[in-house]
Structure formats: structure tokens, C-alpha cells
């Protein structure tokens, strides 16, 4: 274990993840280029490369966007989330290469500066058919650059998780821009319905899964336990909580994870300090609450990470009466020790 700064904190899981990712990308490019040469033997190498890189980035973007909701809907997908940022950076590199080759192929051989040419070669914004779709790609690339450049714990720590997450929520804007970049660009001249159907299906899957996950979260947020006097409020039954796991309740405007372990009950904020992962969906491993997203750990009784780590989350006063768990509605400052409530036999 180490708390020293490293550009990438490599471990076995990340290496396996990245190896599979790299192999998948190379395999995709090889298959796309081979199939392209077979179906279109007269296609130029530049065109084939532009298409292979562009579609590769689009496929990866779809994968990235469905991993989040899949994990919210089924915990078996969590391993995919673990190193998703490397997938995001890879997607940006593919998109950047696609853009670079396209600028070179279509804009670099004239008298005008190629980048100026991209921005000014078409200004027919009033027409859908002749819309300058390149601009949409440029804007998406700028967003993807911001996201790729901040895909590191350095930025996560310094921007704070909420700001970082708000920044990375721009991916939905980038997704919309890219879909329209393809629709108003490539699909305008494409006569085969296959690609149109594939892109439409991809959009349905991404938006459908995102809506399903958002709806699940909304239902959880609606189960609010309210109390304005900072009293203990009934949160759940002891029997509702699986051993070494948590029941999530919405209290004082935010989610609280009520954990049961070793005959005791503790309540902490549901929000991990790393990437705001849902601690209540994690488990107690080796005596520590473990975030299901990236494995950050906290002691249940004081919400502090075990030394040498320094992360702290708010704790809540808790008591058990007649098999019911009561939690005080206002949180204690992060890292405050709270005596766990004992579960008495028969309760």
C-alpha cells in the first residue's frame, strides 16, 4: 500500500482491464479495416482509417455510457466501472486521431489554414442537409479533451468530487453532438440502412438504460424520512439489513447508509469521498465499509479511512429499539466517532 503520487497507480486489475481494452480496440480496427477492404476494394487508406477510428470511438462511447447505468441496475457489472476512465481516455485518443486524419484529408491541401478551413468551409447553419457537421465534431472533441485531461485523481481531489462529476456530466452533451455529427455528416450520404439502424439502436440502448437507472435512483430518493427537530427518526428494521451490508435511507436531504455488522449498527453518509460512489451498495470487508466502485474504505464507527489514508465521511447517531433502527436526522462532522448501536438478541 502506498499514498505516494503516481501518474497511474497500476495494479493487476488495471493491467488486465487495459490489456483487454487495448486488444479489443486493435481487434476492432483490424476487423473494420479488413472488412472495408473486402467490401470496398477501391477505398483509399485515409478514408478507411478515418472511418475505422471514428466508429471505434463511437462504439467505445456507447460502452462508456452504458456501464454506469448497468452498474446501478446490476452489481455484476461493477468490474467494468473500475477502470472506466482509461476507456474514456482511449476513446478520446481514437476520436482525436479521427479528427486529425479528417482535417488532413479534407482541409489540409488547400490555401487556407486547415483548422480555419474546418470552421469556415461551410456556414450553412440554416440547412439540415448541408449543416456544417464538422463543427459538432469539434465541439464534442473539446468536451472529450476536458474530460480526458481531468481523468485523474489529482483533478478529482482538487476540483472536489461534485465539481468533477458535474464537469464529466458534459459527456451527455458530447454524446448528443457526436450523434448529430454522424447524422448530419456521414448518414446524409449513406445509402445502406444498416448503419442508420445500428446508430439508432445504440441511442435507444444508451438512453433507455440511463432512464431506467435514473428512475431507480428517483424511487430511492422519494423514500424520505423527515424530521426537522434533529430527533431520532425510524429508518428501517434491523431485519431489513443483510449482515455486513447496508440499508440506504434518504434522510435530511441525502442518503444515509445504515450498516449491520458483528451484532452492531452504524450509520454513515452514503457518499464516498473519492468519486461519490454509493457506499451503501458496498460491503464491510475486513472491518471497513468498502465502496463498490473503486474500493475506498472507511471505518463504520467514525467514517474515517484506516491510516495512512485520510478520507472522512459524516457519521450519524444511531440507536436500536424493538428491532427498529433510529437515526438522528442531522449528520455529525466527517470523522466523528459514534458508538455503534448494539443489537440485543430478540430485538
Amino acid at each position: 500500500m502506498s499514498v505516494g503520487y503516481r501518474a497511474v497507480g497500476w495494479n493487476r486489475q488495471k493491467k488486465i482491464y487495459d490489456a483487454i481494452l487495448l486488444a479489443g480496440v486493435l481487434l476492432y480496427l483490424a476487423v473494420f479495416i479488413s472488412a472495408g477492404l473486402i467490401w470496398h476494394p477501391n477505398i483509399t487508406a485515409e478514408t478507411l482509417l478515418i472511418r475505422a477510428l471514428g466508429t471505434g470511438a463511437l462504439v467505445l462511447l456507447h460502452l462508456i455510457l452504458i456501464i454506469g447505468p448497468l452498474c446501478r441496475l446490476d452489481a455484476r457489472f461493477l468490474p467494468l466501472l473500475y477502470n472506466r476512465r482509461h476507456m474514456g481516455v482511449t476513446m478520446f485518443v481514437l476520436a482525436l486521431a479521427h479528427g486529425a486524419f479528417a482535417v488532413f484529408q479534407f482541409h489540409a491541401l488547400g490555401n487556407l489554414n486547415p483548422f480555419l478551413s474546418v470552421l469556415t468551409s461551410s456556414t450553412n447553419y440554416a440547412s439540415l442537409t448541408n449543416f456544417p457537421f464538422e463543427i459538432l465534431g469539434v465541439l464534442a472533441l473539446v468536451i472529450l479533451f476536458l474530460m480526458a485531461a481531468t481523468s485523474h485523481d489529482f483533478w478529482l481531489v482538487n476540483l472536489t468530487a461534485p465539481v468533477w462529476k458535474a464537469l464529466h456530466m458534459m459527456v451527455y452533451g458530447a454524446y448528443a453532438l457526436i450523434i448529430m455529427h454522424v447524422t448530419l455528416g456521414f448518414l446524409q450520404a449513406e445509402t445502406s440502412p444498416i448503419l442508420t439502424i445500428l446508430i439508432g439502436a445504440g441511442m435507444v440502448v444508451v438512453l433507455g438504460l440511463q432512464l431506467l437507472a435514473a428512475n431507480k435512483e428517483r424511487k430511492l430518493d422519494q423514500r424520505v424520512v423527515t424530521d426537522s427537530k434533529n430527533n431520532f427518526v425510524a429508518a428501517c428494521s434491523v431485519d431489513d439489513i443483510p449482515e455486513n451490508c447496508a440499508q440506504i435511507v434518504t434522510l435530511a436531504g441525502e442518503r444515509v447508509a445504515v450498516f449491520k455488522y458483528d451484532g452492531r449498527i452504524s450509520a454513515v453518509s452514503n457518499v464516498c469521498q473519492h468519486q461519490n460512489g454509493p457506499l451503501g451498495e458496498g460491503m464491510i470487508i475486513n472491518g471497513c465499509i468498502t465502496c463498490p466502485w473503486h474500493g475506498y474504505q472507511y471505518l463504520p464507527e467514525n467514517g474515517s479511512s484506516p491510516p495512512p489514508f485520510t478520507e472522512k465521511i459524516p457519521t450519524f447517531d444511531v440507536k436500536v429499539e424493538n428491532g427498529r433502527v433510529f437515526v438522528r436526522s442531522c449528520p455529525n462532522p466527517p470523522g466523528t466517532f459514534v458508538e455503534p448501536a448494539r443489537i440485543v438478541c430478540g430485538q
Partner: protein
């Protein structure tokens, strides 16, 4: 899930970075605010996704409905191409004169000895290079990689219809090289040695 969590727990901690005391204090102060930020983010996420779920498919369908089909023609319209020359006596006909391209090549004459000849080229498959020009050059080269000097432009070649050009003067008497040149790609597509038999038909 237990295995996943345990594995991740054992590995991720090793990748955290050291923080200065000041940044730790700053983070501790920010931690309390974090609690109140998450729910608005979730609400914002719901709003973004709901909006996208309505607008993006709509924009996608609008974009597709705006597509215009480009009219295509397999042959050049007669008004755009000259009437082909036609002479009765076939002196030379070959299907495989051009390496890698299926083009029937024919040389026809009115009578012997020939004073003027007609060269006919008829592609047997679509030509996928843009702006193909046909040249004849007196230089002898079966595999020219660039446009030879003193090459005479005969005309254009496109589609699958028969194209014909009148050969006269030195072209009738001498051996020469036929060249297919793509103006769009600025490259020689193929070249072939043309040796016209003076005594009669050669297949």
C-alpha cells in the same frame, strides 16, 4: 460482489496520492458541503437524460428525414459524349491488354493498308477511379508509373460503354503506349504496349 469489492479494496488504495496538510484541511472543509451536492447532481442527471431522451431521437429523425438522394447514372448521357467512331475491319482485339483491369481493347481500320485507325476501349467492369483520361505515347513502356513525355490525350473513359478515338499520323505507323491516368488521383492507373498489326486481324 463480495469478491469484486474485496479485490478492488485491496488494490485501489495503493494508487492514492499523498496530500499536503493544507489540501487535507481544505478537503475536510469541503467534505461537509459534498453531502449537499450529490442530490442536486442526481436531479440534474435525471433532467439531462430526460431532455436528451426526447430531443436527441427527434433531432436524429429530423436529420435522417432531411437526407437527399443523390441521382446516379451508370452511363454518361449521350448528349455529353461524342458519337463513337466505327470502322469495319478489326485489326486487333484483346481482353487482357490492361493488367488488373478488365477492358476490351480493339483497333479497327477502314481498309488495308490503314491510313487511319479507330481505337476502341470498353470497360467490362466499373472503373472506380475518378476522371480517367486515355493517353497515347510514342515512348515504349509496358509499365509506366507516370505520365510519359509527349503523351497525346485521346479522351476520357468512364462507365461501361464503348469509347472510341481516331488514331492518325504517327499513331497509325508506330508502336506506342496507351496510358490510363486518373486526373483526380494524379496517378497512372495502367499502361499497355499497343503494337498495331498491319497485316490483318489479331486476337
Amino acid at each position: 460482489m463480495a469478491n469484486v469489492g474485496k479485490t478492488l479494496a485491496q488494490t485501489e488504495h495503493s494508487s492514492r496520492r499523498k496530500q499536503s496538510a493544507s489540501s487535507r484541511r481544505a478537503r475536510a472543509l469541503r467534505a461537509a458541503d459534498t453531502k449537499n451536492m450529490i442530490r442536486p447532481l442526481r436531479q440534474r442527471h435525471r433532467l439531462i437524460i430526460s431532455t436528451l431522451a426526447v430531443l436527441l431521437p427527434l433531432a436524429f429523425v429530423l436529420g435522417l428525414s432531411a437526407r437527399k438522394t443523390s441521382p446516379t447514372m451508370r452511363e454518361t448521357p449521350p448528349a455529353l459524349r461524342p458519337e463513337p467512331f466505327s470502322l469495319p475491319r478489326v485489326l486487333f482485339e484483346k481482353e487482357d491488354l490492361w493488367s488488373g483491369m478488365k477492358i476490351t481493347t480493339r483497333v479497327c481500320a477502314e481498309a488495308l493498308p490503314a491510313t487511319r485507325l479507330v481505337l476502341e476501349l470498353q470497360p467490362q467492369e466499373d472503373l472506380h477511379s475518378p476522371d480517367i483520361l486515355v493517353y497515347w505515347s510514342p515512348q515504349i513502356s509496358g509499365s509506366a508509373h507516370e505520365l510519359l513525355k509527349e503523351a497525346h490525350l485521346l479522351g476520357t473513359l468512364a462507365g461501361r460503354q464503348k469509347h472510341s478515338w481516331l488514331l492518325s499520323g504517327t499513331m497509325v505507323q508506330a508502336e506506342g503506349t496507351l496510358i490510363l491516368y486518373s486526373l483526380g488521383h494524379q496517378t497512372v492507373l495502367a499502361s499497355a504496349l499497343l503494337k498495331i498489326p498491319q497485316g490483318g486481324q489479331q486476337q
